[in-house]
Symmetry: C2
Subunit: 319 residues, 2 copies
Amino acid sequence: MLDVRRLHLLRELDRRGTIAAVAEALTFTASAVSQQLGVLEREAGVPLLERSGRRVVLTPAGRSLVVHADAVLNRLEQAVAELAGARDGIGGPLRIGTYPSGGHTIVPGALAELALRHPALEPMVREIDSARVSDGLRAGELDVALVHDYDFVPATPDTTVDEVPLLEEPMYLVTRAGSGATDTDATAGPGHGGTLAALLGPCADVPWITARDGTTGHAMAVRACQAAGFQPRIRHQVNDFRTVLALVAAGQGAGFVPEMAAVPNPAGVVLTELPLFRRSKVAFRAGGGAHPAIAAFVAAATAAVGRMAGAGGPAGSAR
Amino acid sequence: MLDVRRLHLLRELDRRGTIAAVAEALTFTASAVSQQLGVLEREAGVPLLERSGRRVVLTPAGRSLVVHADAVLNRLEQAVAELAGARDGIGGPLRIGTYPSGGHTIVPGALAELALRHPALEPMVREIDSARVSDGLRAGELDVALVHDYDFVPATPDTTVDEVPLLEEPMYLVTRAGSGATDTDATAGPGHGGTLAALLGPCADVPWITARDGTTGHAMAVRACQAAGFQPRIRHQVNDFRTVLALVAAGQGAGFVPEMAAVPNPAGVVLTELPLFRRSKVAFRAGGGAHPAIAAFVAAATAAVGRMAGAGGPAGSAR
DNA sequence: CTCACACCTAAGCTGAACTTATGCTCGATG
DNA sequence: CATCGAGCATAAGTTCAGCTTAGGTGTGAG
């Protein structure tokens, strides 16, 4: 019978690319990983990996074995979830990852809800970039995470992660009040229904303030502008949306913020709703949806989002 | 992560009933199995088994964990099957189980076919009662097996075994020629379309020759007679159908034989086709259907059955 | 050319998992 | 009712799989 721990290593190798990275993620030495993969390969009777330069790549047989490994590990995750459900009560540590802005919007409400319903649960929040969530979940550093993706930024399908949608919110273009470009009033309601090109076009030549390089927010900004027909000239790279608003107000250029960050009466800026959406989701290891602590977090996050929307709070209307 | 080897033990415990039996099947000591199940239980955090008299039984949590274990092991079997397919050529030992009469009807033709197409394959045939095939497959003593079941004998659904149907053949009532009961001619063609009760009724008071106690053939005979409205008086218990024919010819009573065993011109007996069927199948570990050696055996057995039917051989028409 | 990165192999060490030995409880049997 | 064996659990000893450490090879970047 194939050893599932070895299949796990093979899967991580497929995801992380190098044996050294697998070893680091699972806190082994590279030697141990190499040896175990060697044993797996001998058991399989088929070459699973081959050297390519100074790294290794999976052979077709190796890649198809990874598919089986995914299925097996997924099912094991379901089993532990069910066992956790059979255990009485929800308790113990729950490692929660969140994208930065989620930390001060959704998370506080969700934690309050969790504390109320499951006092024995010990939530541990950690900021993490959405792109690294999958690795964190698989490595066991995280149990659940708030993640998001944008239109124009394809969320690479990942069989190791399951997701529950939380919120879909429009993005807003932020321009300086009185700049003349898209000037209406300081808290422009829903956009004029224009196309992305029509709405962004006037800002083709102003400098842009985007999220930091390598993030999905950055990629979204670039691709949205490209879709509108121009290449943005990026001056500032800042992840915090409040800073984006402040920089725009200071005349430093234009930027994007999601509805959640679009405070009702921002000073000195104009907000224009765009036909461009950001989707927030809760992610967890594939198969783990039945885990009571994870289900509880999903419920709490959903409730928190609902309350934010229902109260007509700073985030405006959610969908 | 749950250890799959331990899940395997749990599954075997569910199937075999006692830790001692699991240990024997997997060639461990009972102590080892007990210890490993203890570890599994501690990891699960939920009681998985509880003592019941001097044995143990699975708790509900334990049983639901077995369902996951089945799924996982099934998927692993698929993976090894695919790997075997990726390996070049079909070869090595193939352990084949067969019910006794299959050994001299289907198996020889299938082996000839296999030898022709896959000379590197080393088939190893072993007679085994259909009821024990599932255990043999799971224990790895067998890779494939010819099995059968009868009407009236429910084939208990088994998630650990996959089956491919091979042949469905009617059963024949065997009575002594000139006995006056159901006397037509020595090789009665298809029965007169009568009901089971009408066809078996005349033999209600004669002694019966059935398969040996504890086999599906025995159970079939008893239940068929019960369905016909009487309790058979069983005198001889014999598995070999040729012996059944000989005993009937010797005036020892009535019996059942499948079409395959109904030689064209048996001396001294009358064969009456019954509305009662026997289904022969090829069984293998769940998920193993893609294994090239197993697929080759299924194909060879199917071809052998087809040739037997096509040649209008001793077995008459197969369906 | 040199260095560092990524991988592999060899050798030694440690702990998990097995066996052996023993005891306990339950149920069948005379 | 006493006895015995079946079945499971625990304790202690042993073995081997799988880890780390150490060292060697090939590759690509500077």
